[in-house]
């Protein structure tokens, strides 16, 4: 008698899980994601989780490594503050990698904010690797004009981009002396949260045969896999995880790897909620059948 009452109690409790109030879920999201973020600031130390790089990320890494020394890498930072959380760490670790290999690079962006942020990363890392603005890297800033402009850039970089972000004419930037068109660009790396890749594919890749690699947000990741498959993309970092993988290959701890803990907590929350929801549904159904 008592046993059945207890089991009834358990069953009704379980069946309630099929309709958890939205607000309870929201509170759980707050707590589980909030805690790992606040904790380091109040002196609680949490572990860094290990990462396992995927093939797409490894080929990205190799694409950067294999750029010939005479050519430059073009970093197209087409992201805005909205996707900074994902594109930022990717961009930072790629810049660190480029600096480690001693290659030259150019920052630009089809968005206003991206190049500014990338420049901040570059300046910060430049101290560590002894990079000098104008000699080892430069920043074209915000590029407007879309595909037509990119096409012009491929043909004649100096005619399309007259000056860098600070207003210095390209002719006065030492590293630009040998960089005149798409021929002198060994790799274009795009960081974005929107579907701008076709612009680069239609210009740099399709018309001028420049390799492309992309760091994209998780949401547009699956849309980019076809390009990876077709070889239009030579490497792909997807979302924060991509950044974490890159950091793992570079052996540094950055924004990507640090975010893995709240991310894991959030993902686990969903998995547990889904499991509970299903259990609740089964239990309720069985109760109905009886």
């Amino acid at each position: 008698m008592r046993v059945s009452r207890i089991s009834d109690l358990i069953l009704t409790t379980l069946s309630r899980f099929q309709q958890v109030d939205r607000r309870i879920i929201y509170v759980l999201v707050w707590i589980l994601i909030g805690f790992p973020i606040v904790a380091p600031h109040v002196g609680i130390h949490l572990p860094v989780l290990p990462m396992y790089p995927t093939r797409a990320a490894r080929s990205f890494f190799e694409a950067v490594e294999s750029v010939p020394n005479g050519k430059v890498i073009l970093l197209a930072c087409d992201f805005d503050p909205g996707t900074l959380g994902e594109n930022g760490p990717q961009c930072r670790s790629v810049i660190e990698h480029i600096m480690r290999t001693g290659k030259k690079f150019i920052i630009m962006g089809l968005d206003q904010v991206g190049p500014t942020i990338a420049q901040a990363y570059a300046e910060e890392l430049a101290k560590k690797y002894g990079y000098k603005y104008g000699v080892d890297y430069c920043n074209f800033g915000w590029i407007t004009g879309g595909q037509m402009f990119l096409e012009r850039m491929c043909r004649d970089l100096h005619a399309a981009v007259k000056q860098d972000k600070a207003g210095t004419p390209l002719s006065e930037i030492p590293m630009m002396k040998n960089v005149r068109s798409a021929k002198d660009i060994g790799l274009v790396v795009e960081f974005t949260g929107s579907g701008l890749l076709p612009l680069y594919i239609a210009t740099f890749n399709a018309q001028f045969g420049v390799k492309l690699a992309q760091g994209c947000t998780g949401i547009i990741g699956p849309e980019q896999f076809p390009y990876l498959d077709t070889g239009q993309l030579s490497g792909l970092l997807v979302g924060l995880k991509g950044a974490a993988e890159y950091e793992e290959m570079l052996n540094v701890v950055g924004g990507g790897k640090r975010a893995m803990l709240p991310q894991s907590a959030g993902h686990l929350l969903i998995i547990i909620l889904v499991a509970l929801g299903n259990i609740g549904m089964w239990v309720a159904r069985r109760a109905e059948r009886r």
Partner: protein, 260 residues
């Protein structure tokens, strides 16, 4: 690729010709069949339910700017508006693009007039909310809550705001139907809406709704085109397979792929 290759011209020529052939044969009075599309059948039901409850309908064309997908979405909006106008129910169309605002206004006014109730049209029901994606989203969820809409339609190109709209609609208990060619947003609509029209179904929807011979013929032509494209792909795969054995075929393969 600055300009098209011959193969592109051929493929686009064949596809266009097949579509036009479909339209022509339909205009000549050929009987055409379109299979049932579940989500579209539900449109009428949703409009009916909103009317029963005496609450308005919201039709979002998403981030639609001046592009083909938005025109298609507006064609469906017209249909929904005509249904609603018959019962003098309101359809609220919040838009993000000013050019589309003008077209949507016209379309809605037209729909009410066609349904014989031009007086039921309220110009302020077509609302330009903002040109900014998330300001638009916050505006739409505001409208959903304040106007207590009973049915939501999301048709057109969508991006991240899809789930913001659909979850809010879900939480206020509205019946929701979505249709988009933005593949990445389909899963969220599936999760939060009652019916979701996927990919090309969205383009076939107006034919299904209007039964207009041109649209029906167009859908038939689209099917022919897809068969042609699938056959082309299969043939190309066979060529690619044979090319692994006979290298002479690589030239043909290169022609087929447009030199890529």
């Amino acid at each position: 690729m600055e300009h098209a290759q011959l193969i592109h011209l051929l493929v686009i020529g064949v596809v266009s010709a097949l579509i036009l052939y479909g339209i022509l044969s339909s205009l000549r009075g050929k009987e055409l069949f379109i299979r049932r599309l579940a989500g579209i059948d539900a449109i009428e039901e949703a409009v009916g339910r909103a009317t029963e409850m005496g609450r308005p309908i919201l039709f979002s064309v998403g981030l639609g700017g001046v592009e083909i997908e938005t025109f298609q979405a507006l064609a469906i909006a017209s249909y929904v508006a005509r249904l609603a106008a018959r019962y003098r129910n309101r359809v609220i169309i919040p838009v993000i693009d000013t050019v589309i605002y003008t077209i949507a206004e016209e379309a809605l006014r037209e729909a009410y007039a066609e349904a014989g109730h031009p007086e039921a049209f309220r110009p302020e029901d077509v609302r330009f909310l903002s040109g900014s994606q998330f300001a638009y989203a916050s505006g739409v969820i505001g409208i959903m809550n304040r106007e207590r809409v009973a049915a939501n339609f999301f048709f057109g190109p969508f991006a991240a705001e899809s789930l913001i709209l659909a979850e809010t609609g879900q939480s206020i208990g509205a019946i929701q139907i979505a249709g988009t060619a933005s593949i990445l947003q389909v899963p969220f609509f599936i999760a939060a809406c009652d019916y979701t029209i996927i990919g090309e179904e969205f383009y076939a929807a107006s034919a299904y709704l209007s039964r207009d011979p041109i649209h029906l013929g167009s859908v038939v032509g689209q099917d022919y085109s897809k068969i042609a494209l699938a056959a082309f792909t299969l043939a190309g795969m066979i060529v690619a397979t044979l090319a692994t054995r006979w290298a002479e075929l690589n030239g043909l393969l290169k022609f087929l792929t447009g030199g890529q």
